[in-house]
Assembly symmetry: C2
């Protein structure tokens, strides 16, 4: 397996990425290699500087960079020699099996949708986030920002995608799916969740357990929390904000330490024809390492192939 990494993504590029790749390379199986996308001189120089062996990595020369200020939909055609554009070229041609970046999320989404394409039948690919729950496990929430406006049938597909991710990558059998809502009763909600509830209530496509409220996001009441990308993004950033305040104020314990983004590193874009993993822009080397290990787990699980089978 070959996993591509954009060395220019995130706030601490290229060091955090190169360093993370060196760390991940020590933990990945022998038959898996990391392909670094960046200016080849910079990559080699940084590898040596940070104690890595250039012979352990493949390097794809990509001297240009899509920054956070580039327009997501225009960036890829405008910068064909950027790390992200080159990454998607090799992902689309099958030369690499996964591509990971902590860079411009919008450009990653556009690349995923226009260069490797949505799985036929998937209306809207989406992004998940992993939420540590108080029971000791993880719950998934999706969508967390790729689709600000959703229709009920899109939420229905998110439930399928989230269930498959929970099962195939996190090993959760028959994952419980909850619809994020403003009351537990089926009549509660906005027009979107009321309609989505009706679509979901008698389904056999996934294990729907009903509505959940904001207070249940962290309790592990369900394994997969389904919502539109606007709500999910607000939830995620609110949790990050509160966790950040707790850290600043020295309030920590075993449970809340699990909120540290470093532990998760990255999350796949679900519903596209290959393994695209995006990481947080503030990622350090540990987060990048974990993003690469998660890329391995996602690819190894053949989640993408299983989604294709399930949808068609």
């Amino acid at each position: 397996m070959k996993i591509g990494l954009d060395i220019m993504g995130g706030d601490f590029a290229p060091e955090a990425n190169v360093s993370g790749a060196i760390l991940a390379n020590k933990e990945l199986p022998q038959d898996t290699s990391i392909v670094l996308f960046g200016d080849q001189d910079v990559v080699r120089e940084k590898l040596v500087e940070l104690g890595g062996n250039p012979d352990d990595f493949e390097i794809v020369h990509a001297p240009d960079v899509i920054t956070m200020h580039d327009h997501p939909t225009r960036a890829i055609p405008q910068k064909p020699n950027s790390t992200i554009s080159k990454g998607f070229d090799l992902l689309a041609s099958g030369e690499i099996q996964a591509f990971a970046s902590t860079g411009n999320t919008g450009a990653m989404l556009v690349g995923a949708i226009y260069k490797v394409n949505a799985v036929p039948g998937i209306i809207r690919p989406c992004i998940t986030s992993t939420i540590p729950n108080i029971k000791g496990g993880n719950s998934l929430i999706l969508d967390v920002g790729a689709n600000a406006d959703c229709k009920p049938d899109v939420l229905y597909q998110f439930a399928i995608l989230g269930s498959m991710y929970a099962k195939e990558v996190y090993g959760i059998e028959n994952p419980k799916v909850g619809l994020l809502n403003i009351g537990e009763e089926e009549t509660k909600g906005n027009l979107l969740t009321q309609s989505a509830f009706k679509l979901m209530q008698d389904t056999t496509d996934f294990n729907f357990t009903g509505n959940i409220e904001g207070r249940d996001i962290f309790t592990g009441k369900v394994d997969v929390i389904v919502c539109d990308g606007f709500t999910g993004n607000v939830v995620l950033k609110q949790a990050e904000g509160l966790f950040g305040l707790m850290q600043k104020r020295g309030l920590r314990d075993e449970y809340f330490d699990r909120f540290n983004y470093e532990n998760y590193g990255g999350t796949p874009i679900l519903g596209v024809n290959s393994n695209v993993i995006i990481g947080h822009g503030i990622s350090n080397d540990i987060a990048v390492k974990n993003m690469l290990l998660h890329s391995y787990d996602v690819t190894k699980s053949k989640l993408t192939d299983k989604i294709k089978e399930a949808i068609n």
Copy 2:
């Protein structure tokens, strides 16, 4: 001033309400009295049992109760002798100047809208919540559940209502208003927030400072956070859930202690023709006391009259 209190609201009725009324009565000015709505025998008995003096209170006999299981829109006409129905009767006739309850929020909303009516020009009355911010003050978020689906002009009015509440009751001059969104740039958001941003960006009706993200809810970046009632309800319950987990795990400090709902007690329904204050169903006596003191502050501020002037 006369403030009405439903003694049958909430999980700990009637004790928590009667006890809260006794506590509030000691702190309210001489010219203000509390009117208790409930079965008169129960009210008198509980007053004596809990150490209050029945002569300090007016009692309105209301032997029936709207429970949490009653349908909000049908409960008031179906139960004319309930505490909530009687409360709204006296509020509508001007015999009391405020009415407070920790009972069925839906019934309170329906009573507010159909018995005292929305202020002419207000499209949708709404509910706020007070969020302690890290700067030491409070931020308001609205709507938190009265209106799950909103149009952009409704969010615009929420900004006016929230600004006036922040100024008149919390004494915040020229309160900063932020639109809760999934990015700070004006192009970010769902269809609702993108349109609302356009309506707000050049306004002189309130001090609009732009979009804020989930991570800024607690930072005091703005004084008034505007969102639809679905998003606001999820935000509020998520914060309550996380605060509850922190409490259970013994993680506390001066800032997070301010999240205790007891401190706030209640919140007015904004945009109706009188002072209607709703409290949390889990309210204890301290929370009820603070709900009554807040009812006094809201009524004293003449917020309702000022909203009428501003809207017309």
